[in-house]
């Protein structure tokens, strides 16, 4: 997690105006405010997480992302961030469109369903993978649209979305030569920076 924060912070301009979608307990925004002087809001629907944001002094707005970002104007933010939430949305393609309508750039992170452990799990056990990055059972998972790096990049290509940066690693973002060489097989999580 700390590594993910550092990667994201590195890709954000000082004093940038940011929107953090599914901001959780506000850890990232709090970090960015203090490290980079960013201004912005987190969007969240979980009541306890909203209270946690408020306790931290992070500006949080209760909003369901599945209903879009209609209340935010075009190009009104420098960066729109979504960490570990893309896979829980109903229409990821529309979510990406919305993020890049509201923000000049977007940063997304998600777990890779094509990681070799997931592949082996399915291949040998014949059951849907349960792992550290995807810890749920098939019936209770919030991750309704699982993603692989290849699928994501194919969607970006199809939508003419530019991939400006990509960091792939294991859960702690310790990059290694295997993950760099064969990200879709050896990367557990990825951070992408994208734009139109």
């Amino acid at each position: 997690m700390r590594q993910e924060l550092a990667i994201i912070a590195n890709w954000i301009q000082p004093s940038a105006h940011v929107l953090d979608l599914a901001c959780g307990d506000g850890t990232l925004l709090h970090y960015l405010e203090h490290e980079k002087g960013v201004r912005g809001y987190g969007l969240e629907i979980d009541p306890e997480k909203i209270t946690a944001c408020i306790s931290r002094g992070v500006d949080v707005i209760e909003q369901d992302l599945n209903r879009g970002l209609k209340n935010f104007a075009d190009d009104s933010y420098d960066t729109v961030i979504m960490t570990q939430a893309l896979q829980v949305l109903r229409r990821q393609d529309l979510a990406l469109d919305e993020m890049l309508r509201v923000g000049r750039e977007a940063i997304v992170t998600f777990p890779n369903f094509a990681h070799w452990r997931c592949r082996l799990f399915l291949a040998f056990r014949g059951r849907l993978p349960v792992s550290k990055t995807l810890p749920y059972q098939w019936y209770d998972t919030p991750n309704i649209h699982l993603i692989t790096f290849k699928d994501f990049e194919a969607l970006c290509a199809q939508k003419n979305i530019k991939i400006l940066d990509r960091a792939v690693g294991n859960l702690a973002y310790e990059g290694n030569w295997k993950a760099n060489l064969w990200p879709n097989l050896f990367g557990e999580v990825a951070v992408y920076r994208i734009s139109r």
Binding site: Y41, I50, T51
Partner: protein, 392 residues
């Protein structure tokens, strides 16, 4: 005030206990938005907690349509009910009186001790009645600012209010941007909808067409427009509850076990509304009710900016907390969300929570676990800042 001696032991531990209202008299003329002015006026005020040495821990409470200065605690040991917002003001409560100095007043035009239509007009020696000027939210905020001066408060740690009170909070943030660090706007709106104005007009017509209204000079006639006020309150009361909460509370329960095939009370809900209306008509001044509903209708800070709320909010410097309640249809979450959207578009610091509650508009007065958690979390940060002297 009775001369009852009450000890702290007579009241709940999380209550501010026995409180005594104070009158603050002002002789500086107050220029009003409507063009006239008030030359001598007074405010009825209660305070809870203690002002710290640098006066940085003061919180102003703005009341709603039928509210007043008595927001917390008890006036005597015999009081059955505490102040109207006692669930949220007191030691350890969201507005923690161990940390804040809380100021609560009856607004001008009110009927609980502040100068209003039932006060004596010094020019005529008679009650003002209909001659009392129509006041606006901005006028109230101006009078509250003079009260702050009197109390030695240059900047409020927070200004807090629900419903019509929330409108005063919003006006504070725009009219005196440097005089508050936080604005807490609960179950409110930046302007009433046509439907909402419509309900207010029904209430006003009920009062004004009562034969005992006497063009507003009912006091001189020694009567009150009881039926009009009663009707106004009954309609109002329905709009403050949700369909669900009324269903839960009354359902179709009958007062007696059978229908009486007449026009007297059949259902519990009828009995309840009549009781609410009766109580209210005996305790609230009709001209004050008219005045307060007009202040609600007129409020629209965007009107000076061609209806552009984002522009209107440009002046604000404080941080905002906006709270709405899911079943509130009189001041619906949509209205709060419009305000939040305008605040984010204006790049103001704001947090927003939409609390799931069955209680309609009244939810802002009722204890609720999540509402308390959000409110407390926010106010704790406000208090922490007040101690360190750090702004934002």
């Amino acid at each position: 005030m009775t001369s009852t001696t009450a000890s702290a032991a007579d009241f709940p531990a999380d209550s501010v206990g026995l409180v005594t209202p104070q009158v603050f008299a002002f002789d500086q003329p107050l220029a009003l938005e409507g063009g006239s002015h008030l030359s001598n006026w007074q405010l009825m005020v209660e305070t809870y907690g203690e002002l710290n040495t640098d006066a940085s821990n003061a919180v102003l409470i703005c009341h709603a349509l039928s509210g007043h200065h008595h927001a917390a605690g008890y006036h005597s040991a015999e009081d059955r009910k505490p102040g109207w917002w006692d669930s949220y003001i007191g030691p350890g409560k969201p507005i923690d009186t161990n940390r804040f100095f809380v100021v609560s007043l009856n607004n001008l035009g009110g009927c609980h001790g502040s100068t209003g239509p039932s006060s004596i007009n010094p020019e005529s020696g008679q009650p003002f009645g209909p001659d009392f000027p129509v006041l606006t939210v901005a006028d109230w905020v101006d009078s509250q600012a003079l009260l702050a001066d009197r109390l030695g408060i240059k900047q409020w740690a927070a200004v807090v209010g629900g419903s019509l009170g929330g409108m005063q909070v919003l006006e504070w943030s725009l009219r005196y941007p440097q005089r508050l660090r936080h604005a807490v706007i609960i179950a409110s709106t930046s302007k009433l909808t046509a439907q909402n104005i419509g309900f207010n007009e029904v209430a006003r017509q009920a009062i004004r067409t009562d034969p005992e209204f006497h063009e507003g000079r009912y006091q001189e006639a020694g009567v009150i427009p009881r039926y009009g006020l009663r009707l106004a309150r009954m309609v109002g009361h329905i709009t403050y509850l949700s369909e669900h909460s009324m269903g839960q509370k009354f359902g179709r329960d009958l007062r007696k076990d059978q229908l009486n095939f007449g026009y007297d009370v059949d259902f519990e809900v009828e009995s309840y509304l009549r009781y609410q209306g009766d109580t209210f008509s005996e305790s609230f001044d009709a001209n004050t009710y008219l005045l307060m509903t007009k202040a609600l209708d007129y409020f629209d800070p965007a009107s000076d900016y061609d209806g552009d709320l984002v522009k209107a909010l440009g002046k604000a410097q404080c941080r905002f907390l906006v709270v709405s309640f899911t079943t509130d249809w009189r001041f619906s979450p949509k209205r709060s969300e419009e305000l939040v959207d305008a605040l984010t578009a204006a790049q103001k610091r704001v947090s927003y929570a939409r609390i799931k509650s069955p209680h309609g508009h009244d939810a802002f007065l009722i204890p609720d676990e999540r509402y308390q958690a959000v409110f407390s979390a926010y106010m704790q940060r406000v208090a922490d800042e007040a101690v360190t002297g750090e702004v934002n």
